[in-house]
């Protein structure tokens, strides 16, 4: 699926708070589950994007045809495993910024953690979100093109 030349390309980035708790290992397993389902459904719908989990917050970018993004966001908004969903960016775009994989899993580095501080601490969403998006886009670009979840950025 390469929707790069799609005229109807739409992007939505949101941040939400994880509302499931458990040991870090349990949380990691749950996120892997979320990713598995998300990748399958996204591939069917023609959606690409990236998901980052900061330990408390999810930041997810969805890119694809507007109707598919709408349907995917609808599904995400029916999920009770997270809360306080806030849309960071939403609108038509000309090209993909988060890669062409159905859902890249980005794990923030220690340096990135600092950049995410604002986002994690409910500071001014707009500024923090812009920083987070920049970081995510950079992570996506530097990630090797494989279907394995990237763990070499792991903290």
């Amino acid at each position: 699926m390469t929707p790069a030349d799609h005229t109807d390309l739409f992007r939505l980035v949101y941040r939400s708070r994880c509302s499931t708790d458990g040991t870090p290992e349990e949380v990691r397993r749950r996120i892997d589950q979320i990713l598995t389902v998300s990748r399958r459904l996204n591939a069917e719908a023609g959606i690409t994007g990236a998901l980052m989990f900061t330990g408390l917050f999810f930041i997810q970018a969805l890119e694809g045809p507007a109707s598919a993004v709408e349907a995917t966001f609808d599904r995400i908004c029916c999920d009770l495993r997270h809360s306080n969903i806030e849309v960071v960016e939403c609108g038509p775009v000309l090209e993909l910024a988060f890669g062409e994989r159905s859902m890249s899993h980005l794990v923030p580095t220690a340096v990135a953690e600092a950049a995410l501080y604002g986002l994690k601490h409910d500071a001014e969403l707009a500024d923090a979100a812009a920083a987070a998006m920049k970081l995510m886009a950079a992570l996506v670009r530097s990630e090797p093109r494989s279907d394995e979840p990237a763990h070499h950025f792991a903290v």
């Binding site: 739409f10 939505l12 949101y14 507007a66 993004v69 709408e70 966001f73 609808d74 908004c77 029916c78 999920d79 009770l80 809360s83 969903i85 806030e86 849309v87 939403c90 609108g91 038509p92």
Partner: protein, 789 residues
Amino acid sequence: MRSVYTCLTQAHDHGLILLAAGVCVIGVYGSFSVATHAARSEGRSAALWAGASIVASGCTAWATHMIGLLAFRPGMPAGFDPYLTALSLLVAIAGIGISVALAIGQRRRSHRFLIGLLLGGSIVALHYLGEASYLIAGTVAWDPLLLSVSIPTSLLMFGAAMVVTGERRRDLRRAGAPLLVAAIGVLHFCGMAAMTLTFDPERSLPPRAVPPDILAPVVAGVSLGLLALAVVGLRLTLNARAQARRDQQRLRELANLAVEGLAVCHGEVITTANRSLERLSGLSAGQLNGRRLSELLPGLAIADLPLREEREAELVGADGQRVPVRVLRSEVPLGNKPQTVLAIRDQRERLQTESKMRTLAYSDALTGLPNRVHFHDLLARHAMAYRTHDRGFAVLILDLDRFKLVNDTLGHGLGDALLRKAARRLKAALAEHDVVARLGGDEFAVLQVDGASPEAVQALAARIVELIGRPFLIDGQLINVGASVGAALAPVDGTEPSQLLRNADLALYKAKTDGKGTFRRFEPALDARMQARRGLEADLRRAIAVQEFELHYQPLVDARSGRITAAEALVRWRHPERGLVSPADFIPLAEETGLIGPLGQWVLRTACTQATLWPSHIRVAVNLSPAQFRDLRLSETVRAALAASGLAADRLELEITEGVLLADEERTLATLNRLRAAGVSISMDDFGTGYSSLSYLRRFPFDKIKVDQSFVRQLPGDPESAAIVRAIITMGSCLGMAITVEGVETAEQFAFSAEAGCDQVQGYHVSRPLPAAEFVSFVDTFVNAREAA
């Protein structure tokens, strides 16, 4: 008996005997086939064919007899008496015709026997008339013994033949024809044997005797006629058979065309089935034929089925699948006997349609959720079950905050999409057995049945508020609405459906007034408050009807001269039990219920009328509420009040608050301009509180600004308040608007206001609001005092 044998073997021409037998067989066949055709035909043609058949049978008997006579070789000249020969033919036809006519439908054996005797009698008459017509050149002697034995014997055989012909049993019936032939044989050959002819040369043939050579062609002609008739009969029979086959084929095709399954049954067993039934059951024709009905339609006793009345049943198909059907039994004559035919109608489509219609009737077309009717049903059922099972449940009612705004500004299409998405999120918030329904508009209801407890209700409501509070992405637009939820928990908050719904509604009302996006559970205080409100509303209606209101007037004095220049009309409610009620206690309710309309009109008319009693330099100020501004006829109402009272328009001041300007500014400005055009002056009341947007002052040139009393209260000690009051006064004078300072209670405040340059002062320092009569006397004393001073 020997003579009979000799007679048969020696005295007859064998060839002719065989011919006689042949003519007999052909004639009988022809007569019977034509008779059968007559039975198939109707009306005139039936009578014609029946007549032909009878004539043919008579002719057959006659021709057979005549050939038999012609076969007889008496060994002397012989001839036939033409009259007796003709008479014998007529007797045969008449006898057979009458017997057959009598025999039709004859059930009783004795009657049939008598008819047989009659038939036999006519054949006997035929025979002996024939003998009598046989003339020879000699004498005839009869053997009386043979005659007396053979005639009764043959008559009895005729009788027996007729009896067995009408029998039900087929094997007995088959004996009819041979018996008949035997009877004729006995009659004929015994009759011939009993006759002894003696040649007597003395006797010659009478002149009327017709020689055999002449009669033979006649007999031959009759025989040929019979042959022709037999051919016709054969054709008719063949045609009839072909027709029957075609009919049967057509019937089968017709049966196969039928949508319903049809089965012809013999007792409990199917003998024939049409193709629809094959399809319906999945069984082949071979499998269906011979199958017992109880296998195909278990539990259906065919004998108990009433005629012409459908019964519900289940058909078990080849794969064991059960198909709902309706079965109709009828008794139909097929062929010549009545048979049981079952019509089996497939009900699957009808049931599907019905269930679809039920779904439509009970669900909301937009969201697919249950609708209001369905929800009330479910609730009633649960309330009933609660009584027996004691299982708690909760009713939650919610609506979408700001939905109307979204619908009005972004269009109904988007509003509908929003409702659909909201419905989906609501479902995501529910536990497995909870039900959400759309009651109408943006109002939804949830029946919580999974372990409803105060905590569970709270948790469910929180989930709903969370999910609906999330952004909605519709056609590229992000839309934020919220949900306000009210809940009532059975049995604590009621057990009756209507009570639960009402209490949940009250809780929702509370949630909405407490700031949207929240959840409230019903509490009795809500109910009490609502009851009190309702009581007050009824009271207010009554008070308007019986005019329990009165106006008090608070004077406004000129800050420089101290003269009374105007008075503000303030409404008071003189309640029969509660005494004087403050406007703060009833005006908000009057505004909410729309009662402000009639109340405001009364205030306006009364103030105008009472002001006409005052000195002409004193104006009257009347407050208008935002609700009154929503009435498009406000300016007409004001003109009418002025006209009715005779008060000059320039003596009326209308005071409005910012609230009036908040909603629908264009319309409000138009109304204000119309009022201004009527000559009425307009004041901005309570200036300095609320939004106090200065743009209002720019958009509409008020005649007067009234500084809110909250600033005056701190005067003159509080420098901030002093600065604000001074600033407003300066601004007003720059804009050319008069300034009134309200709530002046002390001499210092009065002095400050006058010194700051305000135009009018109002407050307890001058006077409290006074009843109308007191105000008039106050004006008098005030004026007198000033003049005295």
